[in-house]
């Protein structure tokens, strides 16, 4: 009955940092790992050379477990996998693709695999593929997401009911109370993105981090459902997309408006008007840009207090 996520990854707290594009470099990943969580380097926005550099720097910065997030649609995926093996990375979180293709290969190389899913049928496929853990990503999560729009509150128990592998809950979690609530719903651990995106160590632009702090409820939306669903802040760029959709733009036309580099422009270069700003709904509760050490400490402190608080009368009617 030990915690399955801390055991699986040999970490202190069952807190995984989401491997977000333009945000999750070696500084963020190593800081999370050094503070007892599991840091992930986000491969999605990195050229293979940059990816290798981040892994090497992360190994220098921490002797704790860390991993990488690997979107399986990445064009030069084989190059990234070669680097993962050569650099002896021991934990890979895969997403956006078929987990069957690489899980056995990773296992043969003594690599633990977790796979991100937005629904039960994908969770069953991942379990069949032999993954070591499943990340359930709810509708409220930032960035790319599933089409069924199932929320964290419903998704965790639905997936937990059908599968046996450990479950890491993602989407909408940014506090110790959120962590405990997710675990009560069935999760063994959590993955947080948005809260770490607003950390001092995150590699995104300060303008983007300040925009996360400014965001209130209703600031984000899941859009581009006919192209590839993505949750982002409703900025000027989003309004351009909406107008195009209202005017009946085809998926191809939408892809053209999107162009290349919109995510980089927004999150990495800090262009709040013309760039794409991917973040989760929970941004509405994020009030400050903190060092990772403070974020994890706050979460664990609040989590432990919440465990104590269940003895108050509110719970014991």
């Amino acid at each position: 009955m030990k915690n399955k996520i801390t055991s699986l990854f040999n970490i202190k707290f069952p807190i995984v940092q989401g491997g977000m594009i333009w945000t999750s470099g070696w500084k963020l990943a190593s800081a999370v790992s050094n503070n007892g969580g599991l840091g992930l380097i986000g491969a999605g926005s990195m050229h293979p050379d940059t990816f290798r550099e981040h892994i090497q720097k992360c190994k220098e910065a921490t002797n704790k477990s860390f991993g990488v997030n690997l979107p399986l649609m990445y064009p030069q995926i084989d190059e990234l996998i070669k680097i993962i093996i050569e650099e002896k990375v021991k934990i890979v979180f895969t997403s956006a693709g078929n987990p069957k293709k690489y899980t056995d290969f990773f296992h043969q190389n003594d690599i633990k695999v977790a796979h991100v899913v937005p629904g039960v049928k994908f969770a069953l496929k991942a379990q069949d593929a032999g993954v070591d853990a499943i990340v359930t990503e709810g509708f409220e999560a930032g960035g790319h997401n599933g089409r069924d729009e199932t929320t964290t509150f419903c998704l965790i128990p639905m997936i937990k009911k059908e599968i046996n592998v450990p479950v890491i809950a993602a989407g909408g979690i940014g506090s110790g109370k959120g962590m405990l609530a997710a675990m009560i719903l069935g999760a063994d651990g959590i993955q947080m993105g948005s809260r770490f995106a607003a950390s001092k160590e995150g590699s995104s632009h300060i303008n983007f981090k300040k925009e996360i702090v400014k965001a209130k409820d209703g600031a984000t939306i899941l859009t581009l459902k006919d192209v590839t669903p993505v949750r982002l802040i409703k900025n000027k760029f989003y309004k351009q997309i909406t107008e195009a959709i209202t005017d009946g733009a085809t998926p191809e036309e939408l892809k053209e408006i999107l162009g290349r580099g919109r995510a980089k422009k927004g999150m990495f270069e800090g262009d709040l008007d013309e760039g794409e700003l991917e973040i989760g709904q929970i941004a509405g509760l994020i009030d400050s840009i903190d060092p990772v050490s403070k974020i994890i400490d706050d979460i664990i402190t609040e989590y432990k207090q919440a465990l104590i608080d269940i003895n108050i009368e509110k719970y014991n009617f």
Copy 2:
């Protein structure tokens, strides 16, 4: 520190049954109240005479607290309010409208008022209006819903942070674990709709109840966002709507397709193809049509077990 919801309504468990159209008649409301929760008669689908009859029958069937759900957009709202006063109903849940208009009047008549909101700014307005409790309705809830699409996991703490009145969480809750998770996120109690819609005592058609049991994750969607957002099962009627939206139908044209009586046709008459089937995402976890006594007993048993389970190692890493 007593539980604020049980104290406010003088009930045993902080469980409110959502006042759903075509589902929440006197049989359901009185069964919930007789079993320790707060039953609500759903006025939204009732003619004034029917409404009065349901209140009278409910008073005969229970000597416990019960209430009514009153959509403030109801055309003959003043008639309903007159009936509420004449029949000495003591608890009113209002939704879909401005809580300022009637809250003082209800209070003058010794009636407790709760108001349903989908976001922080509406919660602040309701608090200003002086309501006794606020129901936070997340994106995953069935039926009519807000435009910001904030999920239960994010909405509860966002609203709890800004207001002082007791909070009842709704949307996605159908189990004892869900109840505890919602309370950890900040709620003082819960409102359940879908689970009670699938009860033996619910007044909806058996076909609709069976369809709730059949639903899996991804079975529902929030649609008609340009007319009035509503979460329903993706049946043939929904596909007609989608095609019309894809073909560029105006809100007026959509209203025509909707026509009158689609909700009645689906939920009350059991026409699964041509009717509107309003239900929440949590339908995917509902496996049986049970009597209210069993539903409440299951929820409280699971809730209490979940409180005990926080002592297992999973939580204490």
